[in-house]
Symmetry: C2
Subunit: 520 residues, 2 copies
């Protein structure tokens, strides 16, 4: 156990201290510049810590090679720590899993699946999109050389399809987002221009500005330039506009906004790695180098005392148990898994670990012989807007105009019926049956499916940490002598459900660890 | 000269005949299906001809390996013709030129440039975007295995910047498209909701629908849900909304539409090949195979008689002239170049050739040390909306978050001042000087430039055919015994300024040639 003093006076330069310093030097505009370049503008909680000080010979074990564990390992390496990462699976990434030909897993108490997609086809069954505001992830992609492409999160070609009587007279009708936008704005502008033309409105505008306003409304809404009526027009596609009342009653317009959100699932633009989301964790793996990550290492116990931490892991290939000692341990496995590990943390900590719940997330990839959504429907990325029991049904934002493709047939974060308890074949049938209401071609073009219900995935036992309150996160973020938790559930941001949360959690654990090690 | 009769009774199956046949068999719904799959829905003029009949031993020379010549060659190969393509340059693609490290050209009466971009950087100095409706090009990309990615043609992060007094009080101010959209719709909806709330409006809606309408307007415009006012809000970014009158006077709103156009420069989505636009012609080159395309072969004369055509070309490397004989010749070089070739076409044809004018197109790529538009401004693709003398100034839709990047500093299809007559260095200075008004970082980050003024590019002598009328196109499309013109200027569609026009022109020439050869 090293007791060397750190080589720099300031062991940890937190974001706040960094900004305070800049402020002291250069005034508030310099702070703003720094904040911009540090990407705080978008209101992100996490900024990569600027840590200084050499750790001496401190030895660290990181448990879990998901995104948070990889962040910790990568940064520990840069700081000069002696570290190892124990990973129970035979791959990095945790939830950031891209399924492709020969990917396989056996569900807890369930079936084994082996992916039969053609070579070159894949589906992200965990995280799949990175909003442009998630600069933690994006800057790592830049640093690690992970090529990114646009994720099309909203496509005007997308269909709305509400069955039952959910959309009034437009129920069970395929209405394109393009048609909805054109018609809602067209009808609205027609009403407004009519009122202006008939002088019903008391506008706070000069006559000239009123004329400019009318010109804007006519052009924006594609109104007829002479009679100011909204009519069928080429760009909308074939057919007459939908009736305004019918549209208002459909509720489709609830999805329309003047501009997209800056965060969350409506942010634009979004990105995803070329070749699958697992290229992101693989980028860390490449940078960390060989011999640092021990695969197939299932952690069995973590015991600390004042002198260090003893970790016992099972090599799931050989069946052999190995004991390793370290000065510090950063636990980056899901808390749902940690709850079953023999670890000496305080009762308060274990209570917070057990109280953290995980989402019931599921995804299903459907390999198709033909990209019929592109060829027949001119849909390139984006999602189906429906009330079908499929959660999100989405079209690939990659390999456009190639021959085959993989649809995301289902993406849900809560239970969809009792599918969790059904055989994979029944789940696939459920998805095909519902999806064929919108895409009748889907059965004929179907080739194979791969279903991932995260509650049934070993070493995950759920999706993202969904139940963490601020108070619980504060507890989970505490350093207990030589053990620090670092999984996304501890993220200081409110986004444990994004990879950005895993990155923030990693940074937080790293900072805590470094502070602790520098004190030692 | 072969005189064999064709092996099939129906030599040419035109689009119309094909659809008529389907109609005779299956009724109008079958026609609609066929039209959908043939991509006529979007109103495109061109459909790939379904030609039948074997050509016997007919020998064809295609002059020019631009997109139209490659289409002709590729399809001739599939039909079993004996063909060669003569290309004056050392590469395929013609205008579809991607400039990268070591690309070079010497301007007509001007300077030599050698591209000094880093390996991996490139810029499309000819066509650069493919609207989703251009299914001729896109289906060839699919068939030839040319991977495509999204071309971001509109980005909400883009700036408006009008200098002088062009935008009233918002002149010389960087206003984001996102801010414009939010503010225009926010102000509009506030006015409309206020009028509804105050019962100024005589709406043709029930009370319930009126309530739904108000809810829509409030949500879409991000109005305050209690007082229905439009105020600053997070998604818009920092700062207060712009004044409505100031926005109306700026004219920025003239670019806003409820939905994008289906064709032309506003179509969405658009695509471009991964790795540069030249991957498209290179896909044809790969499919056509070696020994079919003769490079560095500058055509000097084309003489036909009843027995055949004699073509003389100069090997620009060896200086040797070669005479080749063929049964038919398809001339796919720009008409501006053809006008200077010794060719025996009718006076009417040569008049139409000489009367066809070509655009004064220019592009400049600017390699930057750092993608400051992404890092500092969160701009990912799209264009600057300005009245600066730069034509279009655009950000790359590829390799996001990589280190360096190439900006399109200028893209114009008409003369920009007298830049055509200035040294390259002065043109670069012009672009940097104006662009730095919007992006002050551009000088510091500038690495190198490459300028292509197509009027000064040998074997092009201009951009796209801009002056072709319907009557002239009809003349240019005529078969004169054994010679057929096939460059984009002859396109039956109204789009000689897109690669889709080159494809259509190729199909038209191919069809005419095949009909002629089958008659022989």
């Amino acid at each position: 156990m090293p007791k060397k003093s750190p080589t720099a006076a300031l062991p940890v330069l937190t974001r706040r201290r960094f900004l305070e310093r800049l402020g002291a030097v250069g005034g508030s505009s310099l702070i703003m510049t720094a904040m911009t370049s540090l990407d705080l503008m978008a209101g992100q909680a996490g900024v990569r810590p600027a840590l200084t000080g050499r750790p001496g010979g401190a030895k660290v074990l990181v448990i879990g090679a998901g995104v948070s564990g990889l962040v910790v390992g990568y940064e520990l390496g840069k700081l000069g720590y002696d570290f190892r990462i124990l990973e129970a699976r035979d791959r990095v990434g945790g939830l950031a899993w891209t399924v492709r030909r020969s990917s396989e897993h056996t569900e807890i108490n369930g079936e084994r699946q082996v992916c039969a997609f053609d070579e070159g086809l894949s589906v992200n069954v965990g995280p799949w999109r990175i909003p442009y505001t998630h600069t933690g992830v994006l800057n790592y992609c830049k640093e690690l050389g992970v090529p990114l492409q646009i994720f099309v999160n909203e496509s005007d070609a997308s269909y709305f399809y509400y069955e039952g009587n959910a959309a009034g007279s437009l129920s069970s009708t395929r209405v394109r987002l393009r048609e909805l936008k054109a018609d809602m704005i067209g009808h609205t502008n027609e009403l407004l221009v009519k009122a202006i033309d008939q002088r019903q409105l008391d506008l706070p505008l000069t006559a000239e500005d009123t004329q400019r306003f009318v010109s804007f409304l006519v052009a924006q809404g594609y109104l007829d330039s002479s009679d100011h009526r909204y009519k069928a027009f080429t760009n909308r596609g074939p057919g007459d506009p939908y009736d305004f009342s019918a549209l208002l009653r459909s509720g489709f317009g609830n999805r329309m906004r003047s501009i997209p959100a800056r965060d969350g699932t409506a942010a634009a633009p979004m990105f995803h790695p070329i070749g699958g989301m697992d290229q992101f964790p693989k980028g860390f793996q490449r940078a960390i180098g060989p011999n640092r990550i021990v695969f197939n290492a299932e952690t069995q116990s973590v015991h600390q005392n004042d002198a260090g931490v003893k970790v016992v892991y099972l090599d799931t290939k050989s069946g052999r148990k190995t004991e390793v000692n370290a000065d510090y341990v950063v636990v980056c496995m899901p808390l749902s898994v940690l709850a079953g590990v023999d670890i000496n943390l305080s009762p308060e900590m274990m209570e917070a670990v057990r109280a953290t719940t995980y989402s019931n997330s599921a995804k299903m990839g459907l390999a198709m012989k033909r990209r019929f959504w592109e060829e027949d429907d001119q849909i390139f990325g984006g999602h189906l807007y429906s009330n079908l029991p499929l959660g999100e049904f989405s079209y690939p934002s990659n390999d456009y105009f190639s021959r085959k493709g993989v649809l995301l047939g289902l993406y849900a974060n809560v239970a969809v019926g009792n599918l969790l308890d059904q055989p994979v074949k029944a789940r696939v049938e459920h998805v095909l049956m519902h999806a064929s209401k919108v895409h009748p071609q889907i059965r004929q073009e179907f080739e194979s499916a791969y279903a991932v219900w995260w509650r049934r995935v070993r070493y995950s036992q759920g999706g993202y940490a969904s139940g963490a309150t601020t108070a619980r996160r504060a507890q989970l973020s505490k350093v207990e002598n030589r053990i620090i938790l670092g999984s996304a559930a501890t993220a200081p941001s409110s986004e444990p459900d994004w990879q950005e949360g895993a990155v923030s959690a990693g940074w937080q654990a790293l900072t805590s660890l470094h502070e602790r090690a520098m004190r030692a």
